[in-house]
């Protein structure tokens, strides 16, 4: 059992929790993730490590289905059954020169950690964070503190620039020499945004989020196509060269359990708990 020390709704449907998991916190690096299981009947879901401090690991997630709703419902002091990590390779942090970090939606949660690591490695870091609207924007302050420059966009113009993170990225790479780019967000956002750096051949990383089970390379559920080769995102990634990724395949595989996911959230909404009646 692992205790959730803090839990907050930091934006519309986006939650921040701090989990007491020294074995994860101790070795966690930017770009890595955990797999959690809420309780004895729970599924294993991957979530990015947003930060680690002392024995605590920060996780930021959007409540989208059964498991994330149930996780959001756990009060501070409550427990989850399992958390394993840190999993996956850390981000490729080195002295690149000038880096851009783009975060979309809940994906923004991964950006402060990567930005900070790159900053420490001597890079100039430009942040671009985008959300649907002002109410869904997260970590603006945290990113502003770390980055040399920060751009904010909202799809509806309710805050920062009206438009998409991709628009700002396009202008940024047109204006100055950029050495490496990270784009983290929903698959479709990563697909579209990474087009901005393709022609210029700028090294661009995306963090892939296929459906996982074990997270240790044992099942192959997370397989993706990168540069025409099969990779297991959990152990070979999760970050890959954006210009080599087959995003359409990723999105196809993400949809496989949609019917069951609807059934699971419907049951949850009916009962709002994991009690026997709810199941």
């Amino acid at each position: 059992m692992y205790t959730i020390e803090k839990s907050n709704e930091i934006a519309d449907k986006i939650f921040e929790i701090w989990v007491d998991a020294p074995h994860v916190a101790r070795n966690a690096q930017a770009g890595q993730f955990v797999i959690i299981r809420i309780d004895e009947t729970g599924e294993r879901i991957p979530l990015t490590i947003s930060r680690a401090r002392g024995d605590l690991v920060r996780i930021v997630f959007m409540a989208v289905g059964k498991t994330t709703h149930a996780l959001a419902a756990i009060k501070p002091g409550g427990n989850i059954a399992d958390i394993v990590g840190p999993l996956g390779h850390p981000s490729e942090v080195k002295s690149w020169g000038t880096c851009v970090i783009v975060g979309g939606g809940a994906g923004i949660s991964s950006t402060p950690c990567i930005a900070e690591a790159l900053k420490k490695a001597g890079n100039k870091v430009i942040g671009i964070i985008g959300a649907r609207n002002a109410g869904m924007l997260i970590f603006e302050d945290e990113m502003r503190e770390i980055c040399d420059e920060l751009h904010v966009t909202t799809d509806d113009g309710s805050k920062g620039r009206h438009g998409f993170a991709a628009d700002v990225l396009k202008e940024t790479v047109a204006d100055q020499k950029i050495d490496a780019v990270w784009i983290i967000g929903p698959a479709i956002m990563m697909k579209i945004t990474s087009m901005a750096t393709r022609d210029k051949g700028i090294k661009t990383f995306v963090s892939l989020n296929p459906i996982m089970v074990d997270g240790t390379g044992m099942c192959g559920s997370c397989r993706c196509q990168v540069a025409g080769k099969t990779v297991f995102a959990c152990v070979d990634g999760p970050e890959f060269d954006a210009h080599e990724v087959d995003f359409d395949l990723l999105m196809q595989r993400q949809r496989y359990y949609m019917e069951q996911e609807k059934e699971a959230i419907a049951l949850w909404n009916q009962h709002g708990c994991s009690c026997a009646e709810g199941k």
Binding site: N27, E43, R44, G85, D214, T216, M218
Partner: protein, 447 residues
């Protein structure tokens, strides 16, 4: 006693084989000739003193039988159920020449089940040596090594990346063949020797290599969990599973009980399983229990199927359709699987494994309609940790090179089980782990 009827058991995950009654066990034990030079023992990778424990059963001293077995094998209820006895101890039983060999595995299981029913006796252990050993992986190799080392008085920490211990015994082999309460009881008895278990620890990530090397010795039992795919077109379609994924979703995560359990799995009406080993049989019979019509496609002949005889027989009884001498060439479908195209195979000259090489007959293809394809064509050693250990020698398949005593090229690191051999068997993993544990003991005392 014996097997539950196929038409009943395909609706549940309860054990198929109900085992011997005491009367049956005693009768079978009485058939044993108590050979002076028992050939059967040579066939057992952990050298159980087979005539001795059988004699105890014949006398009705079931508890003594279990105690005798456990001096050599701490997991008899498991091995009695899953060992390929017909190619190990039983094939060498002298009675097999004229009549049927003694059913050694069934007797071993019986003794262990009786002991579990009446309460497992705690094992003795030596006083503490003050030495610390890390065991990586909690499958048969890790468990066995941990138990042997703890008995010798070493302090053992066992790391497991999953949320439950047991390795393949827990996530791979289905409950209808190996009930999980049997696994848990046998694991518990080993862990009660004082082994500290750290679940949810992925060594190499949660525990760094330098942290690991602060132990006095390290035993690698990380198994062969890397699933192979066939690398044919259509493999990324939704509905294509590795057997590992399919079985893990069901055995470890209980996806068969969705939505009571949260893990989803395909609702398939027609399933094609590719392969012919135990893993393929387990996947096929699991899919059958979830209501699918199942076809198993194997590239060689039925006499070449590498699975245990009992599993093949059970699969047939349960209505699994076998198509032998055929191999998938393409998986069909848009986003989701709709079928598999296969080619018929012909058998040619014997290959290195002593089996005929299978070659496709060009143009002789056929198509099977299905909504799920499960690939059970083999697994490789888990590369994640091993590839990061500097100075450890590895084979072509990524397996750790260890000598017969479990020593690797790294003085502090020992290894056993599937990570050294590639996908093999429970009892071979245990046999290797016992030797590795002995090597670790001598290494620790010589230090």
């Amino acid at each position: 006693m014996g097997d539950r009827p196929a038409e009943v058991r395909i609706h549940d995950f309860l054990e198929v084989d109900t085992g011997f009654s005491p009367e049956e066990a005693i009768a079978e034990a009485n058939r044993c000739l108590q050979c002076k030079k028992p050939a059967c023992v040579d066939g057992c990778p952990v050298n159980i003193n087979i005539p001795v424990f059988i004699a105890e059963i014949a006398e009705g001293n079931f508890a003594n039988a279990a105690v005798s077995i456990k001096t050599q094998n701490m997991l008899p209820a498991i091995c009695g159920r899953v060992c390929p006895q017909e190619t190990q101890c039983e094939i060498l039983c002298i009675l097999g020449n004229k009549d049927k060999p003694i059913r050694i595995g069934q007797l071993e299981r019986f003794a262990a089940d009786e002991e579990r029913r009446t309460g497992i006796k705690p094992q003795d252990k030596k006083p503490s040596t003050g030495k610390r050993v890390a065991v990586i992986g909690s499958g048969p190799a890790g468990i066995t090594a941990a138990g042997e080392l703890a008995r010798e008085g070493h302090s053992v920490v066992m790391y497991e990346s999953l949320h439950l211990p047991g390795g393949v015994l827990t996530y791979g082999i289905p409950a209808f063949r190996l009930p999980k309460d049997v696994v848990n009881a046998e694991l518990d008895q080993v862990l009660k020797l004082g082994v500290e278990v750290k679940l949810n620890h992925f060594v190499g990530k949660s525990v760094s290599l330098s942290e690991l090397l602060t132990y006095d010795a390290v035993m690698l039992g990380t198994g062969a969990g890397l699933p192979y795919f066939m690398n044919i077109p259509g493999e990324h379609l939704n509905g294509v599973y590795s057997a590992n994924e399919f079985l893990t979703r069901v055995n470890l995560m209980h996806a068969d009980q969705f939505p009571r359990f949260d893990t989803p799995i395909a609702k398939a009406s027609r399933v094609v399983v590719v392969g012919g080993g135990n893993v393929a049989m387990d996947a096929a019979r699991t899919a059958r229990r979830m209501g699918a019509k199942v076809t198993l496609v194997y590239r060689r002949r039925s006499e070449d199927l590498p699975a245990r005889l009992a599993e093949i027989h059970h699969a047939e009884e349960e209505g699994i359709e076998f198509i032998t001498c055929a191999n998938p060439t393409r998986i069909l479908g848009e986003q989701v699987v709709t079928g598999v195209e296969c080619v018929r195979m012909q058998m040619c000259e014997l290959d290195a494994s002593g089996r005929p090489a299978a070659k496709p007959i060009d143009g002789d293809t056929f198509t099977l309609d299905c909504d799920v394809v499960i690939q059970a064509i083999g697994q490789g050693p888990n590369p994640v940790l091993v590839r990061e250990i500097e100075g450890i020698e590895r084979g072509r398949a990524g397996n750790v090179i260890a000598d017969g005593d479990g020593k690797t090229s790294h003085p502090k690191i020992f290894a056993a089980g599937d990570v050294t051999t590639g996908a093999a068997t429970v009892i071979l993993a245990m046999g290797g782990a016992k030797k590795a544990a002995q090597s670790i003991c001598s290494y620790l005392t010589s230090k």
